[in-house]
Structures are given as structure tokens and as C-alpha cells.
């Protein structure tokens, strides 16, 4: 067992061994979800706060259920109905939550680095549920879990991430996690959204979608993030679908056992053809199931993480 971290802030600072520890631990928690009694007392008496300054439904619900299945109490805090509207700073809001004896703060924020900042001012465990375009560590962990479960391994696999990479925190976390675990990662999409600079992260960049998906063992499709981009990145959604969408013709050219993944929410008919999203090789709903197990594992592991060990990082 090799987990000594007090927080989960990003994938970049994790070792391959730490990532594997999360995946191994999540396997046990996935089994808990399949039982008649889906709850264990591991975090009994602990308080978890979902501090979602940027809206989210699936990640928030997933963390909420994860905390509940570990017997913790959970409070949901959303920006729309909060004191942010009245001008309170993030630090003051977090300190107020800590004054209520919150043990875990799960934060989603539009600013990159917000979880790192909170980890420096709070005693509570901080878990990053997505910070700007920086990282979304639990998504990468659940993606890695899903690939490993389906393929039996990650090292040596060809993983293609297709879509809006530039604005995607999922892409960044996935690239860190999968390359650390030995996968060969290829990024593809419009040149404006997939700049060559990503090659510095240890992956390959191409703008030829047919070439990118031909040898892929896993195709991870990302949503076009309307909310994060200016209109000038590509001419139209229709053109994106035409040039980069996973349609039936392109799907027919993929390896017969290539997995189709998507972090959701999916835009049917935009980045993915509706029938492909529902086909047997699509693991989109398994990703949701696995996300719950991975988040339980993360809460369980950081609970044992020591503040002392964190300073060694």
C-alpha cells in the first residue's frame, strides 16, 4: 500500500504506483456497490462538503453517493445559492466550512489551482473535482480503471483522445494518468483545439482523425465545451461533426475490439453517432458506475493520508 497523500489535487504529482493503488482499492469498492447493502462504515462520523463553485451534476452526485456509501455526512454547496453572490472570497467560504468541522472539501472551480490553494489554507482533506482547464483527477482515475478492467492492462495500449483538448481538464488528467501507466496516447481534433505543445506531455498529436483511430485500442471522445471557448476556434458544430465526429463510416475502420469512451455529458450526433454511443463497445455507462467506486476509493485513501507525508511531496 503506497498512499500517504492527504489530498487529491491532480494526477501530475502522482506516481504510477499511487495511481495503481487507487485502481486496486476501487475494485473492492465497486464490489460493495453490487451488494444488497451498499454501504460500509469506513467514514462514519466524517463530514464531506461538495463545494461546487462551477455547476456540475454527474460529478457532484457521484461524490455525494460515494460519501454516503462510506457512511459520511455530506453537504452540497452550490455557487448559485451561496455567499459568493454576496462577494465572499473562496478562502473565507472554505474557512467557514472548516469552522463547521468539515473533514473533506471536494471542490470544483473555474479557476485552475483553486484546490491547491485550498489545500494550503485548510486542515481538511481537499479533493479536486475539476479546476478550470487544469485537471479532473477522479475522471482520469475512473477512465484508467475502466480501461484496465476491460482490457486487463493499460501499458502498451494505444489510447486516442479525440475532441477539444485545449479546454479540457479531462484530457490533461487522462494524459498524465495513462502515460504514467505506460499507454501510448494520441491526441486528435481541430488544430486550433489540439496544439502541438501537448507533445511536451509525452503524447502524440495528429489532426488526421482516420489515422488517429485506426490503431487505437481505446477511443476517448471529448465533448466540445461551448462554455469554455470563443466562437473562433472552429467554424461550426456541423463542420466539427463532419470532420471529427465518430460516425458509422469511421467506426467501421476502428479495431474490432476498440473501446469507445466518453466522460459525458454526450452530445449525440455531434462528437458521437447515437447508435455508436449505445453499442456493445461503448463503455460510457460503465464509466459512470466505475466513477462512484473510484471516488469511494479516493475518499478512503486520503482519509488515511498523513499531513506529514504531504510535505515530502
Amino acid at each position: 500500500m503506497s498512499w500517504t497523500k492527504k489530498h487529491l489535487l491532480d494526477i501530475e504529482s502522482l506516481t504510477a504506483e499511487e495511481i495503481t493503488t487507487v485502481l486496486d482499492t476501487a475494485r473492492g469498492f465497486k464490489a460493495v456497490g453490487e451488494r444488497a447493502i451498499k454501504k460500509v462504515p469506513a467514514l462514519r462520523g466524517k463530514t464531506v462538503v461538495n463545494l461546487f463553485v462551477e455547476p456540475s451534476t454527474r460529478t457532484r452526485i457521484s461524490f455525494e453517493l460515494a460519501a454516503q456509501r462510506l457512511s459520511a455526512d455530506i453537504v452540497n454547496f452550490s455557487a448559485e445559492a451561496s455567499s459568493f453572490k454576496k462577494g465572499e472570497t473562496l478562502k473565507d467560504t472554505a474557512l467557514n466550512l472548516q469552522a463547521l468541522n468539515a473533514d473533506f472539501i471536494i471542490i470544483r472551480h473555474s479557476a485552475s489551482g483553486a484546490p491547491h490553494f485550498l489545500s494550503r489554507v485548510l486542515n481538511a482533506h481537499v479533493i479536486n473535482a475539476g479546476d478550470g482547464a487544469h485537471e479532473h483527477p477522479t475522471q482520469a482515475l475512473l477512465d484508467a480503471f475502466t480501461i484496465r478492467e476491460r482490457k486487463g492492462k493499460i501499458a502498451g495500449l494505444n489510447v486516442t483522445i479525440l475532441g477539444d483538448i485545449l479546454y479540457s481538464r479531462v484530457a490533461r488528467s487522462d494524459i498524465w494518468a495513462l502515460t504514467k501507466l505506460g499507454a501510448k496516447v494520441t491526441l486528435c481534433g481541430p488544430a486550433t483545439l489540439v496544439p502541438k505543445t501537448f507533445e511536451k506531455m509525452g503524447c502524440r498529436v495528429t489532426h488526421d482523425v482516420d489515422e488517429a483511430i485506426r490503431d487505437a485500442d481505446v477511443i476517448n471522445l471529448l465533448r466540445i465545451q461551448h462554455e469554455r471557448q470563443r466562437k473562433t476556434m472552429f467554424p461550426s458544430i456541423g463542420e466539427y461533426t463532419q470532420l471529427f465526429g465518430l460516425n458509422k463510416a469511421r467506426f467501421a475502420k476502428t479495431k474490432p475490439d476498440a473501446l469507445i469512451m466518453h466522460p459525458g455529458p454526450i452530445n449525440r450526433g455531434v462528437e458521437i453517432d447515437s447508435e455508436i454511443a449505445d453499442c456493445g463497445r461503448s463503455v460510457i455507462l460503465e464509466q459512470v458506475t466505475n466513477g462512484l467506486a473510484v471516488r469511494m476509493a479516493v475518499l478512503f485513501l486520503v482519509n488515511g493520508g498523513k499531513a506529514l507525508a504531504e510535505t515530502v511531496n
Binding site: 500517504t4 473492492g28 469498492f29 462504515p41 478512503f300 482519509n303 493520508g305 498523513k306
Partner: protein, 178 residues
């Protein structure tokens, strides 16, 4: 290795398991109600070996499960998170006599966690406890029903088990100074 004593060798381990199996058979007349549940790491191998001996005594297969106790421990915020092992209980525990099998009985806290974890799968009629080694130093009112060997120990000593599922000649239980 200095300060290390072999307290059970492969032959002694097999003999102890055979005796425990006969004691389990003697205590439980309704053999069809008995199932074994091993606590990893160590207890799962022992449970499989006990089940094999018991099925020879009873002339029918004896169900075996594996029960992870890590999520039910009482010290989770005082230590680095323990390894989570898979739990496999391939039978209905309701109404059964469950014999929990562990390698070493020490504080009794793992046994307490195991009883809690088992309750999530149903309500056994009885729970009994079989251990290969009882080293004393209980912190809870827990007592084993079947014991391979009582080993008085000091708190600064450590018991290590080298066990295989089949029971190889190299199997050993060793007592050493920390």
C-alpha cells in the same frame, strides 16, 4: 536470522489444521449449515485448506468465502489506509454457521471488523472463530473457538506466516523480535 524461532513447520501446520477441522466437525452436527470465511491475507488460504479437510470428513463440499475487513476497521483515521482485498461470499450467509478463519488472533479488532462486515451479507445463525495462532494481548472481549497453537508473545515480537494455499513443505510460522 537471529532472534527468529520457527514455532510451526509445514507438518505441524497441517496437523493443527486437521485437528481444527475435526473440532469444527465435532462442534457442528449439521454439516450442511457450515461455511468457512477466510480473512485475507493469510486466513483465506487457511480457510481453503480447512474446507478441503472438512469436505473429506463430511463427504460433501464445504462452501468457502473471503471477507475483506479493511472498510470496517476502527482505526481508519489513525493510520495509512489499509489494502482493500476482494470479498467473495459465493453463498447465502443467512441461517448458516459461519466459521471465520484468520491466521493470527492478536488484539481482536480484525475479528470485530469481520463480524461487522459479515453482517452486511445477512444474518448468520452462528459465527465461530478459528485461528492458526493465538498470540494473546486482546483489546476486545473476543475469544477463538478453535486454536491451532497458543503462543505467548511480547508486544515487541512479530509473528510471520509463510503459507501457500495448497500447503507446501516450505510453510512456516515464525516468531521474531521487531
Amino acid at each position: 536470522m537471529p532472534d527468529a524461532t520457527v514455532i510451526l513447520d509445514a507438518t505441524a501446520i497441517q496437523r493443527a489444521l486437521t485437528r481444527i477441522a475435526h473440532e469444527i466437525a465435532e462442534r457442528n452436527e449439521r454439516s450442511a449449515d457450515v461455511a468457512l470465511v477466510g480473512i485475507p491475507v493469510g486466513g483465506d488460504h487457511l480457510a481453503a485448506r480447512l474446507a478441503k479437510i472438512l469436505s473429506g470428513i463430511w463427504n460433501h463440499p464445504v462452501p468457502v468465502g473471503i471477507l475483506d475487513t479493511s472498510m470496517h476497521r476502527d482505526d481508519l483515521d489513525q493510520r495509512i489506509a489499509p489494502t482493500v482485498h476482494p470479498t467473495e461470499i459465493p453463498f447465502d450467509v443467512n441461517g448458516k454457521t459461519i466459521v471465520l478463519v484468520d491466521d493470527v488472533l492478536f488484539s481482536g479488532r480484525t475479528t470485530r471488523a469481520a463480524m461487522d462486515a459479515l453482517n452486511d451479507f445477512g444474518r448468520p445463525k452462528k459465527i465461530q472463530l478459528a485461528v492458526l495462532v493465538d498470540r494473546g494481548h486482546r483489546e476486545l472481549p473476543i475469544k477463538a473457538d478453535f486454536i491451532g497453537k497458543n503462543v505467548p508473545t511480547a508486544l515487541d515480537e512479530k509473528i510471520s506466516l509463510l503459507l501457500t494455499e495448497s500447503g507446501a513443505a516450505a510453510d512456516q510460522v515464525i516468531l521474531k523480535k521487531k
